[in-house]
Homo-oligomer: 156 residues x 3
Amino acid sequence: MATKKMAIIATKGTLDMAYPPFILGSTAAALGYEVQIFFTFYGLQLLRRDLSDVKISPLGNPAMPMPVPMPVLVAALPGMESMATMMMKQKMKKKGVAPLEELRALCQEADVKFIACQMTVDLFDFEKSDFIDGIEFGGASTFLEFAGETDICLFV
Amino acid sequence: MATKKMAIIATKGTLDMAYPPFILGSTAAALGYEVQIFFTFYGLQLLRRDLSDVKISPLGNPAMPMPVPMPVLVAALPGMESMATMMMKQKMKKKGVAPLEELRALCQEADVKFIACQMTVDLFDFEKSDFIDGIEFGGASTFLEFAGETDICLFV
Amino acid sequence: MATKKMAIIATKGTLDMAYPPFILGSTAAALGYEVQIFFTFYGLQLLRRDLSDVKISPLGNPAMPMPVPMPVLVAALPGMESMATMMMKQKMKKKGVAPLEELRALCQEADVKFIACQMTVDLFDFEKSDFIDGIEFGGASTFLEFAGETDICLFV
């Protein structure tokens, strides 16, 4: 039986949407899938060496479970993004959810291929030294060639 | 001809993004597809018995058609999320769009399988009694086995 | 070899999420794919004749690279959405990224089929004259028939 394949286009850079590419990528790799993740737009933030700036925002997302009900204007106060991020991270730690860095490393150990979108790297003036080792740089065209052969292709 | 299959990963819990999984799910089921929806992260909100807390936010979404142009700071005032939600619901009702609960029930009647992500259930301290009947609880690994056999797989 | 096919469901109407459907659509068409894009919910904004109202918002997206760090309350001030949009457009122009209108025209020249979701057109009271020429109007059901035969199907 041919190896199954999964492609993910990771376009978001918030803490909540950072998890799906790494969780799905590492899970699929564990099931024997060949996996490639294409990081573009804000998704490039997930390839930075330092992930401490990856945050969540309670703004514009009334679906986020909050420890206390909070008016929107309070959620907009300085420091609330950092506070919500800290609380989410503590909750995840307490519940045994692996931190992002760990899931990302797990993907790389399982040979999940990480591709940074060259166009976005140029657009946002990223330096190659901002990113972790072991990644490739490429365009949508090359990525689509792989995506067209996959069993699962997701836009996150 | 083999039965066609569709998998949806529902990660959002806002009113606007609550519709796509249920509309696409029920439509595909009506076309004869076997459909499974995996509810994870904020998407779990869509499996609650009471959907009255599912809201939209005009914040951070300048693409939302508003009845009157509204400065961002006004959109952030207390009560604006509830007001925008109420107005959207009235508009939908007037235009004959079925309410969420109805579309969800339609999916279940058509044997669309609902799976709640166990990891997120634990993370956000949901109780099984918060959810509607007739759903399953599972992990990404089991879901991917189904997703890998589908004709359409979407990340909402 | 059969022609490869790609389907995209475009649901977002912000400047950042306006790019992926048109970039992926035109790239796939250039690779010989048959491409259909279904514009629904806020995605309908991308079919308007005038795209000058398509904006980005720094609110609720802490992953947006900002030229200067900015407290959330400042980002909520009147005019900040327009300013962030203007800055992003200037950056894109300087870096040689084609404007949205151009990428959209490129898709149409390459026979990418644009379908406007009739239900959303009715819901948001759009007029057919609001939209560009050469598009079709249809429902999820017709679109899924195409989507079920594709090699790549994405929900943006």
